[in-house]
């Protein structure tokens, strides 16, 4: 579903991505992990077309992305920090997005809106929301159009445990339906039971890409966190 070939990007002197080759497919939940500044966000932004790569190719559903922005109708994106216009009401944001990209028939996936009880705050302007509530809105937006690909940047960072559990439950539910979920996160234990594949980035390179079974047998660790730590130690040597 997502494939990159020799993807390269530099910001002035910092080489954010160097020759990144990867492929992610349906029915996978891919954890994108790596230390701060390893290029996770740059990679995501390249896939979304927010950052223009210096070299290499990105294919989404078999087609190279270029000037045509229609490929993004297959993607739902949840940003790390969601900020919205101060005086826009929560309900208006959903109305706006629905009128911008609703599919034929107007079917949308409102399950997260319901579970987070966002209807109750539909009349509130965005500026009155707390950081966590804004994250819930961002999550609901990402899932709204039932996309084939979900890109979630630090999804559980600002969420309370209950809301975080609701989100994880939702991811668990959709992953069986030929969907691809890409998650970046620093909190390892959070992802334990969801992840099927990991992609470990360091200094803009893919250091390790494998399924969870391979990771477990490779490192001999059952716990996700410990397995990752063992990979990190090896790559630091």
């Amino acid at each position: 579903m997502i494939e990159t070939r020799a993807l390269t990007k530099s910001f002035k002197r910092i080489r954010a991505l160097q020759q990144v080759d990867l492929s992610m497919n349906e029915n996978q939940v891919v954890s994108l992990i790596g230390p701060n500044g390893s290029g996770k966000t740059t990679l995501i932004k390249c896939i979304l077309g927010l950052v223009r790569p210096d070299g290499g190719e990105i294919h989404i559903n078999g087609r190279a992305i270029g000037e045509d922005f229609q490929y993004r109708s297959a993607i739902g994106y949840m940003p790390q920090i969601g900020r919205y216009p101060d005086h826009m009401k929560v309900g208006q944001l959903f109305d706006l997005l629905r009128s911008l990209r609703a599919k034929q028939g107007g079917q949308t996936d409102d399950e997260l809106i319901a579970h987070y009880r966002l209807e109750r705050i539909f009349d509130q302007p965005m500026r009155t929301l707390s950081g966590g509530t804004r994250q819930k809105v961002s999550a609901a937006v990402a899932f709204l159009f039932d996309p084939k690909i979900y890109i979630l940047d630090e999804p559980t960072a600002g969420l309370d445990p209950l809301s975080s559990e609701i989100l994880k439950e939702k991811i668990r539910k959709i992953r069986e339906h030929q969907r691809l979920v890409v998650i970046t996160s620093h909190i390892l234990s959070d992802l334990d039971d969801l992840t099927t594949h990991i992609l470990y980035l360091q200094d803009g390179r893919v250091h390790y890409q494998a399924s969870m079974e391979e990771l477990r047998s490779f490192t001999g660790e059952q716990k996700f966190g410990k397995a990752i730590a063992s990979i990190m130690q090896q790559s630091n040597r």
């Binding site: 910001f11 932004k45 979304l48 077309g49 927010l50 950052v51 223009r52 922005f69 229609q70 490929y71 993004r72 109708s73 993607i75 994106y77 940003p79 920090i81 969601g82 900020r83 919205y84 216009p85 101060d86 005086h87 826009m88 208006q92 706006l96 997005l97 009128s99 911008l100 990209r101 961002s138 937006v141």
Partner: protein, 258 residues
């Protein structure tokens, strides 16, 4: 196209609820009411209003637009992750911003002026004020796209305002003084076109009675700017002052890393 105007409508309805825009409209309304009521001669009141306006419209339009752009950064990112083009998103932000500033101008100053004048002068006032707002918004968006850092962006815009509103007149005066032995009418005409604020000032002043005090050059200018062709010229140049910065910022924005 429809997506762009839908987006513009939503952003517009957000901006007009912004306190700064409300205050901006309120300030203009207050100034207009005070001047028209305290000054017996409405022509004089209009002249004073014009002088306030030529400082306030560019200053508020430019600073507000710049800050609005930086504050919308994450929202713009979120929009660009949707199946929307960069041009659509950028132009929506631009039009929403410019149109809400124009609305504040029309409500605050346009209506009081229209109550006292219903002639070409009033029409010229509304037209140039609107176009000047568009031009300043476009210049501000251009500066905001160029500078990644908010403080630097606002700094650039303040410098530009300072240059157009104050420094430029000094330079023009210096040129005219230095070369006063030569016929400078055409050059002066050209020089006014290079500054949207001056152009607005000249096109308004020459429609008022004060232009009688401006001597031979004033008479030539009056003949030019007073005509319908002069109005087209002013309108056209102010339109260019919107179009060119907008094209430049779109080109930068299209390939920008967000």
């Amino acid at each position: 196209m429809t997506a762009m105007w839908t987006l513009t409508r939503y952003i517009f309805s957000d901006i007009i609820r912004n306190k700064v825009i409300v205050l901006y409209a309120g300030f203009q309304l207050l100034a207009a009411l005070l001047l028209f009521n305290l000054e017996e001669n409405p022509d004089k009141a209009l002249l004073s209003l014009l002088n306030i306006e030529l400082i306030v419209i560019p200053l508020i339009s430019m600073i507000f637009s710049t800050i609005h752009y930086y504050n919308s950064y994450e929202f713009i990112e979120m929009l660009l992750a949707q199946p929307l083009g960069r041009r659509q998103v950028f132009l929506s932000e631009f039009f929403a911003c410019a149109l809400s500033l124009v609305l504040a101008f029309i409500l605050g100053l346009g209506i009081p002026v229209l109550l006292h004048f219903q002639d070409m002068l009033a029409f010229n006032f509304l037209l140039t004020g609107t176009l000047l707002t568009f031009a300043c918004t476009a210049i501000a968006f251009c500066a905001a796209v160029l500078a990644r850092d908010k403080a630097r962006g606002i700094g650039i815009v303040l410098l530009l305002w300072f240059y157009f509103a104050l420094v430029y007149d000094g330079i023009v005066l210096m040129i005219l003084f230095t070369f006063s032995d030569y016929p400078l009418e055409r050059l002066t005409l050209l020089l006014t076109a290079l500054n949207p604020i001056d152009l607005t000032r000249v096109s308004m002043m020459l429609r008022m009675d004060v232009s009688a005090l401006m001597g031979y050059t004033g008479a030539l200018f009056k003949e030019f700017f007073g005509s319908f062709r002069g109005m087209l010229y002013t309108g056209g140049i102010l339109f260019l002052w919107t179009l060119l910065p907008l094209i430049l910022s779109l080109r930068i924005f299209r390939n920008k890393d967000l």
